[in-house]
């Protein structure tokens, strides 16, 4: 039997909210699929579109950007810039026919371990039927 497809996901988590929320999920021993490898950044506002394109280029099946809820940014307004920037990137990727499910953004606060778990579970679930992302992957 063929092994079930396990999507590879890169998640850019802001240090103050989403990474802390992910830590909380750990402390609370919540369980979620191991498909996501997190990269901690200082702020969702620091996530360059280059990171997202590059992740797909290097074979990510999905990319997640997660930051503080509006109004909660440790750096006051970084997540507002992120929201605008990421929205544009998402629209661009969808315009050329990349599956919209592959690129997602979430607000996860430091108290939302449950939400983080939920976001990952749903993300993985949505990616599985799509199969590997080969459209933008190098050497595919």
């Amino acid at each position: 039997m063929a092994e079930e497809f396990e999507p590879k996901i890169v998640a850019f988590l802001c240090k103050w909210c989403s990474s802390a929320g992910s830590d909380l999920a750990g402390v609370s021993r919540m369980e979620y699929p191991p498909n996501v490898v997190p990269i901690q950044v200082m702020c969702s506002g620091s996530v360059s579109p280059l990171y997202i394109f590059s992740a797909f280029n290097k074979g990510a099946d999905g990319v997640l950007v997660s930051g503080c809820h509006p109004g909660d940014c440790h750096y006051i307004k970084g997540n507002y810039y992120a929201r605008r920037r990421i929205h544009l990137v998402k629209k661009l990727l969808e315009f050329v026919g990349l599956e919209p499910e592959r690129f997602q953004m979430s607000w996860v606060s430091a108290a939302e371990g449950t939400k983080y778990t939920q976001v990952i579970k749903e993300f993985v679930k949505e990616l599985k039927p799509l199969g590997p992302q080969i459209k933008l992957r190098r050497n595919s």
Binding site: E6, K8, V10, S19, A20, S22, D23, L24, A25, G26, V27, R29, M30, E31, Y32, P33, P34, V37, P38, I39, Q40, V41, M42, C43, G45, S46, V47, S48, P49, L50, Y51, S54, A55, K58, G59, A60, G71, H74, Y75, I76, K77, G78, Y81, A82, R85, T117
Partner: protein
């Protein structure tokens, strides 16, 4: 290639129970540049830390990755371990394989793979970290407080009492702010002037406080710990050292203009003392009202002054000061009655605002504490108080709640009843917000003891009708139209940021909220700090506040300022933005997104003020040219981390 050592912690079975730590070590040993990889049961224990120190020395490691719990727990521990091994603290990175891996997964093989990727990602990062030392700058151990109201006075006193020099700048001729205009204060009904004047005297006599009234901050440059301030000292044309307060000058002055302190309820002369308890106790010649600063034009005041205190040649002065911290306590003004079309645009003499009513109640006020109608000096028998006048009205006025009006309106109605026993007070309200110690009881007292009639609803119109004021409104509880023929109407006008505060904020490059109040650095966790490092907020400049809140915030701001002033040097994280000036074109986009005003344009390129930068990196994601990047989390580092996370 740099030599990296990788240390994988079992954390007992916390990690090792789900992650095959030996396998992670084997995989990492194959990673380019990794010359040492080992696992240990508790890396954070003394023996564990010794392993790291030993390996650094024996294997000549350039940097270290510890795969363990979240960096929030032991990053500092292991960075210090690396330091003990002779490495810079940034030569150590943490791979979080517990909270973000072993604790949340069950499948051992998959968790092991993920832990491997996380650890490799940390290796790629640490290899490209720069060795950095904390940024250190000297501190000018003095403070500036802007605004001489209760908040500013309190902040200045707290700072002075902590042993720091303070410059207290007030734009009007006297300190005291709005509090000195009030008659009594809620909920205790103690006399405002009685409790404030001692503080005014204290601050003016304080050896550490330099008081500068009739002065305005013109320009602030520099950064936390090292501000340079330019203060404009406006000429009063009266030498306070010579003036003996004989008051002869005002008697001869031919000019009468509305008295600001009495909110126009009376007049004053062109040369005046704002109020009897003014500090400094001295006269000011109002240049705008005076017919001309020369004997030919008038010169009567100078003629009559025996002590020759009046000096027409006094010039404005720019005084430069250096300070390490700044507290802004610029206060509030009331929303102009002229904006209230529905309440007669402020044109009816007997429609007053709350501060005017305070003056009517005040024993030192224009009526010596008698409540009389400004139009005919008769005692009003029916008074309507309208709450939320200009507040909570996003369509026409201010969207926010001015917070203190419920309380002071109750107080006004109460004071009115105390003065006019046979009068009737009506209060139109939307909601009664009486959160605060003793506040709800106070409102109840107004209703129960003083028979104040509360009417829930909005007033639609106020108009004059045969020397009376007709007030039309709706009682939303009964749904009935209400018409009251009143002798006086008092509007609880919304609180606005003080006039000129926004211009000042712009000069100081301080953020403001959408209503023009000064913005705090974080609404919950940093309520007294401004976004700009080294600048603090106190009082109603930040949002509508009552006296105890303003005082508490002022003390908080002073304590925050002391955290800076109490140090010889300020230390700041060195992981801040760095400009690659060859690539920078000076487009200024980074400057626009920086929340800390840490970036400035100079000669067509940007520069980062490392003390102000918090290293958030929003600039680096905005820059189209990768010309500004955060040290030790560069685009290149993230690129390599992405690659490692994807198994590349």
């Amino acid at each position: 290639m740099k030599r990296t050592g990788v240390f994988i912690c079992h954390c007992g079975i916390n990690i090792a129970g789900t992650v095959d730590v030996k396998e992670v070590a084997r995989e990492l040993a194959k990673h380019p540049g990794v010359v040492h990889a080992e696992d240990y049961v508790y890396m954070c224990s003394d023996p564990g830390q010794n392993l790291i120190i030993q390996a650094i020395k024996e294997k000549n490691l350039d940097n270290v990755v510890v795969a363990c719990c979240s960096p929030t727990l032991h990053e500092t521990t292991f960075r210090n371990t690396s330091k003990a091994g002779g490495l810079n603290i940034f030569c150590c990175e943490i791979a979080n394989i517990r909270e973000q891996c072993s604790w949340v997964h069950k499948d051992k093989s998959k968790a092991t793979q993920k832990a491997t990727k996380i650890t490799k990602s940390a290796v790629e990062k640490v290899r490209r970290n720069e060795s950095l030392e904390a940024i250190s700058v000297p501190v000018t151990r003095r403070a500036l407080v802007v605004g001489g109201g209760i908040a500013g006075i309190q902040a200045a006193l707290d700072l002075g009492n902590s042993g720091f020099e303070v410059i207290l700048v007030e734009k009007t001729p006297s300190i005291g702010g709005h509090m000195i205009q009030l008659s009594e204060t809620f909920p205790t009904l103690d006399c405002s002037q009685c409790i404030l004047t001692p503080k005014m005297v204290e601050v003016s006599k304080h050896p550490m406080v330099k008081l500068m009234t009739y002065s305005e901050v013109q320009d602030v440059s520099g950064y936390v710990g090292n501000f340079k301030v330019k203060i404009l000292k406006k000429p009063t044309y009266v030498d306070p050292d010579k003036c003996n307060l004989c008051d002869e000058c005002t008697k001869v002055c031919p000019i009468v203009v509305p008295n600001e302190f009495e909110l126009g309820l009376t007049g004053r002369r062109a040369i005046y003392i704002p109020f009897p308890q003014a500090i400094p106790a001295s006269y000011t010649l109002d240049i705008k009202a005076c017919p001309g600063l020369m004997p030919i034009a008038c010169g009567k005041c100078a003629d009559v002054c025996d002590v020759k205190a009046i000096d027409y040649d006094m010039k404005p002065q720019i005084i430069e000061e250096e300070v390490g911290a700044i507290i802004l306590a610029t206060g509030y003004d009331l929303y102009d009655k002229a904006n209230m079309a529905e309440y007669g645009y402020g044109k009816y003499a007997d429609v007053l605002d709350g501060l005017q009513f305070e003056r009517l109640c005040s024993a030192s006020g224009p009526t010596n504490g008698q409540i009389l109608r400004p139009s005919d000096h008769k005692e009003p028998k029916e008074v309507v108080f309208i709450q939320c006048s200009g507040s909570r009205d996003p369509e026409n006025h201010c969207a926010y709640c001015s917070k203190i009006c419920c309380m002071y309106t109750a107080k006004h109605a109460m004071l009115y009843k105390h003065h006019v026993h046979d009068g009737q007070a009506y209060i139109f309200y939307i909601d009664i917000r009486s959160g605060g110690k003793g506040y709800e009881e106070f409102v109840q007292r107004a209703v129960e003891e003083d028979g104040v009639l509360y009417l829930r609803g909005k007033v639609s119109k106020v108009f004059e009708d045969r020397e009376k004021l007709k007030v039309w409104g709706v009682d939303t509880l009964t749904g009935k139209h209400i018409e009251i023929t009143a002798d006086m109407v008092v509007l609880a006008q919304a609180m606005r940021p003080a006039e000129g505060a926004q211009e000042l904020a712009k000069k100081l490059k301080m953020a403001m909220d959408k209503d023009g109040f000064l913005a705090e650095a974080h609404p919950k966790l940093r309520p007294v700090e401004s976004v700009t490092s080294g600048m603090f907020l106190a009082g109603a400049a930040q949002a509508p506040k009552d006296i105890p809140e303003a005082v508490a915030q002022a003390s908080g701001a002073a304590a925050k300022a002391v955290t800076i002033l109490s140090q010889e040097r300020l230390h700041h994280s060195p992981t801040v933005a760095k400009v690659l000036s060859n690539l920078c074109t000076g487009c200024g986009m980074c400057l626009q997104v920086c929340p800390y005003e840490a970036i400035a344009l100079k000669d067509g390129k940007v520069e980062v003020n490392e003390v102000l930068c918090e290293g958030c990196g929003t600039c680096s994601a905005t820059c189209l040219r990768a010309a500004i990047q955060v040290r030790n989390l560069t685009l290149h580092q993230v690129h390599e981390m992405i690659n490692a996370c994807l198994g590349g």
